[in-house]
């Protein structure tokens, strides 16, 4: 559907370096990365607002590397919506059709239909200045969709919205993708947003794409420390691999963790991560076969309201453990208390 092939371009402080990836038809593709990683530039290259210095871009089989934006059949949604301030809602939506010389009557009829699909038909005559963030976003989406683009490019569309509207718009975007079959390329710096929306995630850093995969893959099996840390991995340890009979261990100082047997060992140095939510905390020892069980003392407790994160020091390393408020109260955790933490060998991801 959309294909980047070794695309490079720099603009001001931002750059893209040899970026290659492919977005499939109907896919929800999320580009995730920190501020300044070049995500927006990538999207603007796809839209034709800038042209690559090297490499090529294809959309739906056509080479569009040097095509102007108006020939690309893309829809673009900016973070702050970029609605035309001198037009009302319906005229904003109808813009693309009017430019394409669709008759006034038909253009407005089709725009009204699109506005209905997005639940903004009742705002048709309103000026765009008085709309809320969520409403503006819907107008921007309707305006893009009415021209029937091949792919919808979204530049951090949720980051300017409040929490509640974010939830609603996230569902709306997912619905557009699922029900209307729209191919989406969505740029964000929010790990949570990427996890909830993406079919596949491309993680970007310093103008390069460092990992592409499903949310599950990227989240649980990061390929680099950058990806692990950016996706919020808190229990990250540096060490090496040892083998004892059939069992394989990850060793870091006093810490000795059983890891999956099929692991490719032998590399002198590697890193391990264990997700805080994969760890079980209990007041007593539970013997179980495929498990790492460690004893340690609770050092810190952060109360997030709905969930609680406890820091337990075992074998000289800190393990963050995520538990529900309910378990927190049942366990009566407090700093200094001795507890047992356990997790499956399979929960240890090595890279």
């Amino acid at each position: 559907m959309m294909e980047f092939n070794g695309v490079s371009r720099s603009w001001g402080d931002f750059k893209a370096e040899g970026v290659s990836f492919e977005v499939k038809k109907g896919e929800f593709f999320v580009i995730l990365g920190p501020t300044g990683a070049g995500k927006t530039l990538l999207l603007e290259l796809a839209a034709g607002f800038y042209y690559p210095k090297k490499g090529s871009i294809r959309i739906d089989g056509r080479d569009v590397t040097l095509s102007p934006p108006e020939k690309r059949r893309i829809g673009f949604i900016y973070q702050d919506y970029a609605l035309f301030p001198h037009k009302n809602v319906l005229s904003n939506v109808a813009w693309g059709l009017r430019v394409a010389r669709v008759g006034r009557k038909e253009a407005f009829a089709r725009s009204l239909e699109m506005a209905e699909k997005l639940g903004i038909a009742h705002l048709a005559d309103r000026g765009v200045g008085s709309l809320s963030g969520g409403e503006k976003q819907r107008v921007a989406i309707a305006r893009a969709l009415v021209t029937k683009p091949e792919v919808l490019l979204l530049d951090e569309p949720l980051s300017a919205l409040d929490r509640r509207t974010q939830d609603a718009m996230r569902k709306e975007l997912k619905r557009l993708n699922r029900e209307m079959g729209m191919t989406m390329v969505h740029v964000t710096h929010s790990q949570e947003e990427a996890m909830l929306l993406a079919d596949r995630i491309a993680v970007m850093d310093g103008g390069r794409i460092v990992q592409v995969g499903t949310p599950e893959e990227v989240f649980r099996r990061p390929k680099s420390e950058f990806v692990a840390e950016f996706l919020g991995a808190e229990n990250l340890y540096r060490g090496h691999i040892e083998k004892e009979g059939d069992t394989v261990f990850f060793v870091s100082g006093n810490l000795r963790l059983e890891v999956p047997q099929e692991v490719e060992y032998g590399f002198s140095e590697c890193r391990a991560i264990v997700r805080p939510e994969d760890i079980i905390i209990s007041p007593v020892k539970i013997r179980s076969s495929a498990r790492n069980e460690l004893c340690g003392a609770v050092e810190e407790i952060s109360d997030y309201g709905a969930t609680v994160k406890a820091g337990v020091r075992c074998g000289g390393e800190m393990f963050k453990v995520l538990i529900t408020r309910h378990s927190y109260e049942e366990l009566a955790l407090s700093a200094g208390k001795t507890v047992y933490i356990s997790f499956k060998a399979g929960s240890v991801h090595l890279f």
Partner: protein, 270 residues
């Protein structure tokens, strides 16, 4: 304390430095307002009516207004595109171009007249070929317009540049993603949005053009525009003879300027 709170705060926050500033600011405003008001107060409705009956006064005012209008239109034609380029494009020598656009503000008015006469005079590089076609600038309306464009065009260029700079370039990008060409994006998005700023620049341009004297008299003492007529009467008959014309002209300028500003401001709010 409860009811006097706001008033008490008012007194306590009005620090001495603000009083000094208010005093100095008042001096500034009075320095501008007082001469104009005093001049207008010296005349009576009768003396103004007498002045308006004078055909040469009416002709001079009409000539001033119409040549200034032509100068404004010419400035818009070439100044708006230049303003757009300065706002949107990065190119080599941009700073120099911007300085050249601002140059007329710096050049003494009579010097501007001499410079224009060098080019547009009967022996000048533009004046000479055009005079064979019967187009004259010296002591002709064309010369007045040329002088006015020279001193007033920078208002249009700068207001257009500011207007276009205030238009989010992403609106143009979005317009193009929706199928507009570059020209379509300009005429349908940027120009309408920059229009209020350009309009108020055009008003300033017109006002600057109508107020010019030094550059105009060097190239065209005749036909007399209003400022020239006032000077001519002042030289020939003294202050009392020239003042009624000055009052008529200043009232027209203030009236036109205020109403044009009101219109362009209302537009920009709507």
């Amino acid at each position: 304390m409860k009811s006097g709170g706001a008033a008490g705060a008012w007194f306590r926050t009005r620090e001495p430095v603000m009083a000094v500033f208010t005093l100095l600011g008042t001096v500034a405003i009075l320095f501008v307002a007082l001469p104009v008001v005093a001049m207008v107060m010296k005349e009576t409705p009768q003396s103004i009516w007498e002045t308006l009956k004078d055909g040469s006064v009416r002709r001079a005012i009409y000539l001033s207004a119409s040549t200034a209008l032509w100068a404004t239109l010419a400035s818009l034609l070439v100044g708006v595109p230049l303003g757009y380029l300065l706002a949107r494009k990065r190119f080599w020598g941009k700073e120099l171009i911007q300085s050249v656009a601002d140059l007329p503000v710096v050049i003494p008015h009579t010097v501007a007249g001499i410079a224009l006469l060098t080019i547009f005079g009967a022996k000048g590089m533009i004046g000479a070929p055009l005079s064979e076609w019967g187009v004259r600038f010296v002591d002709a309306q064309g010369g007045i317009v040329v002088a006015m464009v020279f001193v007033s065009m920078s208002f249009v260029i700068n207001s257009a540049r500011n207007g276009f700079e205030a238009v989010d370039p992403r609106l143009e990008k979005i317009a193009r993603s929706l199928g507009s060409s570059r020209a379509g994006a300009f005429f349908r998005v940027s120009l309408p949005l920059a229009a209020p700023s350009i309009a108020s620049g055009a008003v300033m341009c017109w006002a600057r053009a109508i107020s010019e004297f030094g550059a105009v008299i060097v190239i065209a003492y005749f036909p007399m525009i209003a400022p020239t007529l006032i000077y001519d009467r002042f030289l020939s008959f003294g202050l009392d003879a020239s003042r009624p014309i000055a009052v008529v002209l200043v009232l027209i300028c203030i009236l036109l300027f205020a109403s044009l500003r009101l219109i362009t401001r209302r537009r920009s709010k709507a």
